[in-house]
């Protein structure tokens, strides 16, 4: 069973560029973006039709909560992997974490968007669409880099 490429294609803006919609009346932000021409703000509803602006979410944020999936993952996911609720300032989204030491993850950790990175292939024989998504990695502060380098030298 595989979905049509169109289903994947129409989500590219949100997946690859972190596109979102902002209501120009009340300022609320929606991710993924609302339908371009007929989309509405959930609070302003009909008044907001045609007044929703497409924006790009900030690429940096903080971890609000995270989990490391070690078992009971869907069949085509290799464990372990980590997902997190990430506060990007204007909006909190669910993101996949990458390039990180799973033991060092913590609430409040600063992360930045990277990618789009490969999520996996559709279908059991992996002959379907190759899926990509923006992922998030920890931002190392200068101090942390210094400590790590020192450890390596030692």
């Amino acid at each position: 069973m595989s979905s049509s490429p169109a289903r994947y294609w129409r989500e590219l803006g949100a997946r690859y560029r972190l596109e979102a919609s902002k209501c120009t009346i009340c300022g609320a932000v929606y991710y993924p973006p609302v339908t371009p021409c007929l989309g509405m703000c959930q609070a302003c509803r009909r008044k907001s039709i045609g007044k929703m602006k497409t924006i790009r979410l900030p690429r940096r944020g903080k971890i609000v909560s995270y989990t490391i999936v070690r078992d009971m993952a869907p069949p085509d996911f290799k464990t372990p992997y980590a997902i997190a609720l990430i506060d990007l300032g204007e909006k909190t989204i669910l993101g996949r974490l990458t390039d990180c030491n799973l033991d060092e993850l913590h609430i409040g950790m600063e992360v930045e968007a990277v990618g789009p990175r490969r999520l996996g292939e559709q279908g059991k024989d992996k002959s379907g669409i190759i899926k990509y998504s923006m992922m998030f990695r920890p931002i190392s502060t200068e101090k942390e880099v210094e400590v790590k380098l020192k450890k390596l030298k030692d």
């Binding site: 991710y31 989990t67 078992d71 009971m72 609720l85 996949r96 609430i107």
Partner: protein, 399 residues
């Protein structure tokens, strides 16, 4: 209190387990016949007496690659054949809350005055599919949660970590929920797991989604069915001397994706539905004698303590530590063993909660009986709480 308009006259339920030898139809017929027998205490009830059916199923469509299940089942029990007239059967899908929502619809059908007797069943057969997580993840936002690797277990873990962070809820407190529900399930002959466990068993079990482990979750594969027969209260006494009344029933929604909520440690759908039932029944949580809650993961029972109004937000962990919700506590939660020990045949769960509540209110729950129970509450949620449905039931003593 005046007599509510809707009564439950019969209940039935299969044992919850991996029923390798039985099909979905088999399970439904089994629970249905038990409910019909149960509703025939004074006068025998026949298929001809039933006006409408509701069927709660979440994943059977995907698991069995079979939709249009309403008529398939109606046919088997003679509700769509020559002798009975061809009654409508409505299939209801709201993920884990399918059964609760099917009950809600049956309640409305009677309450409206359009129908006199309705049957509501819930069923699921998860053991017929390998790698069920892909299918159960469809209770989440497929594009922005499941596609990134979000699973029902992982999303519960995200809520758990946040709750631990904000309120200092401990790993041990979470484990105590599973220990308590296994303790209760031990006395339920229809429970999937009838085994008492210790805190150590929970903390030593395999990590599923950090910080939650195997014993924090309802079993992955539960098969089973549950059936409830509802009737107009004026008709109920014809069939039983002991009708159980539906005081109120309400549903509510929240955003499908967890990240679209402002608050990750409160299920607004539960708060809203609870507010509605308390208002409709004109009671406070203090009047409730026991709760059948949706403990798909241990954290969800802790959230239920708070969101149903039994303790303040953030005090859920303390409540289990102080044994507030054990069978002998102030407000027993999940006397049946809950999803954790009774099992979680998804579409059947909401109906199974009603079945347990009816047994409790009749005083027929044997070793797990809540003493003197007069009012019971059921809480059934879908996904991470994007859907909630809550019912308040009572027996004649409460009126």
């Amino acid at each position: 209190m005046s007599e509510p308009g809707v009564a439950i006259i019969g209940v039935g339920m299969t044992k919850i387990k991996e029923h390798w030898d039985k099909s979905i139809v088999h399970l439904l017929v089994e629970s249905g016949l038990e409910a019909m027998d149960d509703a025939s205490q004074k006068e025998e009830i026949h298929a001809e007496n039933i006006d409408i059916g509701f069927l709660g199923i979440a994943y059977a469509g995907s698991v069995l690659n079979q939709r249009h299940i309403g008529p398939m089942l109606a046919e088997q029990v003679g509700l769509a054949s020559a002798r009975a007239y061809h009654i409508p059967v409505v299939r209801v899908e709201s993920a884990d809350a399918s059964g609760g929502f099917a009950f809600f619809q049956a309640y409305l059908a009677i309450k409206s005055g359009e129908y006199k007797i309705a049957v509501v069943s819930g069923v699921e057969k998860l053991s017929d599919y390998q790698g069920i997580t892909y299918i159960t993840s469809s209770s989440l936002d497929r594009e922005y949660e499941a596609s990134l690797g979000g699973t029902p277990h992982a999303m519960a873990a995200l809520i758990t970590r946040r709750h631990m962070h904000e309120f200092n809820t401990t790993r041990e407190q979470l484990a105590l929920i599973a220990v308590k529900n296994h303790e209760n399930g031990f006395y339920n002959p229809k429970a999937q797991f009838r085994k008492k466990i210790s805190i150590e068993d929970v903390l030593d079990s395999e990590m599923i989604s950090d910080p939650l482990r195997t014993y924090d979750f309802a079993p992955e594969t539960s098969d089973g069915a549950a059936t409830v027969i509802l009737a107009d209260s004026r008709l109920a006494k014809k069939y039983t001397d002991d009708p159980i009344y539906v005081l109120a029933c309400a549903g509510a929604s929240d955003s499908l994706a967890l990240h679209n909520r402002k608050n990750f440690v409160e299920l607004k759908s539960v708060v809203q539905a609870a507010k509605n039932v308390y208002k409709k029944a004109n009671i406070t949580p203090r009047k409730v004698d026991f709760v059948e809650a949706h403990d798909f993961a241990t954290i969800y029972e802790i959230l239920a303590y708070e969101d149903l109004g039994f303790v303040k937000k953030g005090k859920g962990g303390k409540a289990i530590e102080e044994e507030l919700t054990t069978l002998k506590g102030e407000i027993p939660f999940n006397p049946s063993g809950g999803l954790k020990a009774r099992g979680h045949p998804v579409g059947a769960t909401g109906v199974a909660q009603i079945v347990e509540s009816v047994l409790q209110l009749r005083g027929k729950a044997d070793g797990r009986q809540v003493k003197g129970a007069k009012i019971g509450l059921t809480e059934n949620i879908g996904g991470t709480g994007a859907t909630a449905v809550i019912s308040l039931l009572c027996n004649g003593d409460a009126l």
